[in-house]
Structures are given as structure tokens and as C-alpha cells.
Symmetry: C2
Subunit: 291 residues, 2 copies
């Protein structure tokens, strides 16, 4: 494999996998991008759009790619990564130094599932913190990752050489690396990502309930509502395994959240304007932190 001219195999040609395929090729990191896509409609679309050079069977991808990017929902990824490491082991004598990386939104289970694999060093576990509420190859876009943060989880378990190659890959995508323990990552993302999705889903469900008898309610939906409910468009295939895998953390955050809602409810129910004001002003502190 020639320096910075890798054959990259992307398994899962959705928003993340597809966008990564686009930029790695355009920016010269990959000399060739192979794609693997189970869904025949998505596979055909990826070809038509031109996200990859070739859509190939899974086994061919593992055999031909220098770097395999696993970009499927985390429930499937957690089984796929050990399987890929096993296949690397079987090929080891003839083709050394292949790398597999995942791009999933939860990191504990996938890191635990690979922890004691003899080829653990060839696996680099990452979470590029970029995306939109849309999914599928048609949602892929160039520049999606530019300027955003990318988490490297348990990077000390990867071999220095594999880690360096994947750091270069993300440098090409203009991502800012953050190194973090996998378990810690899952606590943090429960707070700054997963709970936002659940609150949006619940908001959509609440308003859709009402809409059954009020046809024109959405005439009044303003920018505020759209922005709060945006994440409720997110795909179930992606989010069911995230919420399921990050079970303990997300429940803990949801309990805190439900408690805060209940405090608001009680203050409003008792016309306690001083308490409502106190809660809002405390919440306003978010201004100083997010710009």
C-alpha cells in the first residue's frame, strides 16, 4: 500500500460512510474506494450518485481494502468488527497490516467486544461527531466532517502505526481529534447527543398526538419548534441500538431530565413565578458555554 494512497473499503453507504467515501477519494487519501451495502436500493443509489468506485461483496472488500471503515448501525458493527479482525488473522501471512475502524456513536460495547482479540491493535475505534438528521446514501455530502471533533476511543489499544494512519485519515477530513476512554465517551454523548434525540422524539410524539384532532396546528409552527424537533427525523435503524447499548447512561440522564421537567411543571402548577424565573435563569447559563 502506497503512502496516503490507500484502497479504502466502506461497509455501510449511509450518511457517514457515504460522506467519508466522497471526501477520502476527492482529497486524495484513497486511490480507490470500495463500498459494501446490503440494501439493494441503497447500493444502486450509491453507484448512481458515484459515492464509491465499486460496490463489492463483503469478503472482497475485506480482502482488497487496506483500511476497512465500518459505518453500519452499532448493533451490527459490534458483531462485524471482530469478524473482520478474524478474517485479517486468516490472511495475515500473505497481506499484513490491514486496519479496521468503526465510526459508531457508542463506544463501550464495541471496545469491550474486541478488547482481547489477538489483532486488537489493528482496530481503531472512532466517533466522528458530525451528521445531519437525514440518512442513506442520498444524504451523503462533501465537507460533512470539516472542522468538527472526532473522538478516538481507547486509542492506546490500537497499534501506534494503525492509530497514526487513521489520525492521518481524519486530518484529511479536517477533524479535530479528542482522545477519550470508551466508557467516558458514552457518558458524555448521553448528555450532549443521545438525550437531545430522545427529547426531540418525545416532542414530536406529543405534538403529533394533538395533531390528530387539530388539523391546522402546524400552521403555527415557528423556527423555534422546527429546531427543537429537528432530531426527531432521525433514523430508527441507527438510534434503536444506540439507545439500547448506552442503556445505563441514557436512563440516568433521562431521570435527571424528567426530574427537571417535573420541577418546571410544579412551579407552573403552583403559579410560583419566582421558581420559574430561577429555573429559566439557571438554564440561560448555557449561553456562556455554547456560542
Amino acid at each position: 500500500m502506497s503512502d496516503l494512497h490507500f484502497t479504502v473499503g466502506v461497509i455501510g453507504l449511509g450518511l457517514i460512510g457515504g460522506s467519508m467515501a466522497l471526501d477520502l477519494k476527492r482529497r486524495g487519501f484513497a486511490s480507490e474506494v470500495l463500498g459494501v451495502e446490503q440494501d439493494p436500493v441503497a447500493a444502486e443509489a450509491a453507484k448512481t450518485i458515484g459515492l464509491v468506485d465499486e460496490v463489492v461483496p463483503y469478503e472482497d472488500c475485506i480482502r482488497r481494502a487496506d483500511i476497512v471503515v465500518v459505518a453500519v448501525p452499532v448493533g451490527a458493527a459490534v458483531k462485524l468488527v471482530p469478524d473482520i479482525l478474524n478474517r485479517f488473522a486468516a490472511m495475515e501471512a500473505s497481506i499484513p497490516e490491514k486496519i479496521v475502524m468503526d465510526v459508531c456513536s457508542t463506544k463501550s460495547q464495541i471496545c469491550h467486544a474486541t478488547q482481547y482479540h489477538p489483532l486488537r491493535g489493528r482496530f481503531v475505534s472512532t466517533h466522528p461527531m458530525a451528521g445531519t438528521e437525514y440518512s442513506g446514501p442520498w444524504a451523503a455530502q462533501p465537507g460533512l466532517f470539516d472542522g468538527r471533533a472526532c473522538i478516538f476511543a481507547n486509542s492506546e489499544e490500537s497499534s501506534p502505526k494503525a492509530l497514526k494512519t487513521i489520525e492521518e485519515l481524519y486530518a484529511v477530513l479536517n477533524m479535530r481529534p479528542i482522545y477519550m476512554n470508551a466508557d467516558q465517551h458514552d457518558v458524555h454523548t448521553a448528555y450532549v447527543s443521545h438525550i437531545s434525540h430522545v427529547t426531540s422524539f418525545a416532542l414530536a410524539l406529543t405534538v403529533l398526538d394533538k395533531e390528530k384532532d387539530e388539523k391546522h396546528i402546524f400552521d403555527l409552527a415557528s423556527g423555534g419548534f422546527s429546531s427543537t424537533v429537528r432530531l426527531a427525523k432521525s433514523n430508527a435503524d441507527m438510534w434503536v441500538p444506540i439507545l439500547s447499548q448506552n442503556h445505563d447512561n441514557i436512563l440516568h440522564v433521562m431521570d435527571t431530565y424528567i426530574d427537571k421537567m417535573q420541577q418546571f411543571r410544579d412551579a407552573i402548577a403552583t403559579y410560583d413565578e419566582a421558581k420559574i424565573r430561577e429555573l429559566i435563569q439557571e438554564a440561560n447559563r448555557i449561553k456562556k458555554i455554547l456560542r
Copy 2:
């Protein structure tokens, strides 16, 4: 008062009052804009920015303006509008046909508080559905209202002439009029505006709680979190009276919302992936409604 060249008096030079002052003058609807602002810093800023031609005392504004726009938080507006109608009545012999309108986010209380006033016809109660999460004269911006919806509440209680003048005012602001009963307005906005603010406040409080012991949690905040939490920057002076005045509706919506969160919590707690999927896919229906 010459046709479409009114003296407009704006009471409350915040985001809404200030933005309205700007466009009514620029677009020629107002020949002169007077401002009333209790807060001396905001008053000085409004002068410096040039939102109005003149900042004047309240009494002068009522006396000189053809149209008085009440753009203060709804807790104050509900007292101010009847007072202004009383002052109109006292001047009636010498200066007829003045109009007062409000731009508040809840409509029931203010419409009930003026319902039996002898000059009720001179009052036009509106809710321009535009805004940002920022407040104060420094948040005012031209074009804020363009293309958005404006609710006229209980417009049959306004005189046809006063209503027509205010319809012209909003036509100049490029707003799309929607006519609605005040009580119905408050039900709808509880669903598509007020609950979004409460869920954002609660989200900010939840994450800020965690942040006390996790300094770097916000490094991970991505676009999804920012958009969901954006409304938590909203001003307490505006939102305390809204949540307090729209008490019954907002409690009803919050109860539905807390129930939906609880359904999610139970599904996650019991690893019931089929139920999590069902809830997410039901929430996804919001895609068809909001584009």
C-alpha cells in the same frame, strides 16, 4: 393622520418592538417612530442604534402616536392595554381614531381583560410568529417578520377600520395573516412553541448539572445538541409571564410530554427494542409535516 404615513409609538424596544420599528420606518408605513423604554440602558442603546426617531415618555407616546404598539412582556401588557384605551377615551373628543395593538405570545388573558372596554374596537390583538432566542434592542433586525405567520386574535372585536389599518401594517412587514380565537391560539402555541421552550430549558438544566463535575463535556456538543438547546437562551422576563398565563394549556401539554418520555424510559429500561423502534418511527412522521 395621512394614509400609510402614521406616527407609530412602540412601547418596549426589545427584539420584536425594535425590529418592527425598523421596518415600519424603512418601508414607509411610519413617517415617524416614537419609542418608550423603561430600562435606561436599553433606551440609550435604542437611540444609539437608531431604532426609533425619538425616545419619549409613555404619556407623550400615547398622545402623539396614531398607532401604539405594545411590545412588552405579556404580564405587563395585560395591564398596559386597558390603561391605553382609557387614555384614548379621555382624549377622544380632540384626537379620535387612535389604535393600540399588542404583539404578545399569549392571547387569552389580554383579550379577556379588554373584552368589555368601551373602546375595545380600537384594540387589535396580534401575535407575529417571528423571533430569535435573543432579546433587547441589540437583537432587533430588519426583515425579522418577512414571510412568517401573524395571528389576529378575536379580530371580530376590533373595529373594521382599526383591523384594516393593522392588516396593512402587517402586509408591509410581509406577514401572512391567520385569524383565530384567542383561547384556541393559546392551545396551539402551547403545542408548537411553549413546550419547545420548556423542553430546551430542561435539557440545558440537565446538562449543566452534569457539567459541574465534567469540565469537558461541551467539547462533544455537536450540531444536534446546539439546535435542541437553542431556545434555552430565551429571556426569563418574556417567558415567566407566558408560562404563567398559559398555565392550563402548558400543564396539559407537559403531562403528555412527560408521559411520552416515560414510555421511552420504560422501553429502554426493559431493552424493548421493538417498542423503542415503534416510538421512533411514530415520531419520524414529523418529517411529512415539517419540511
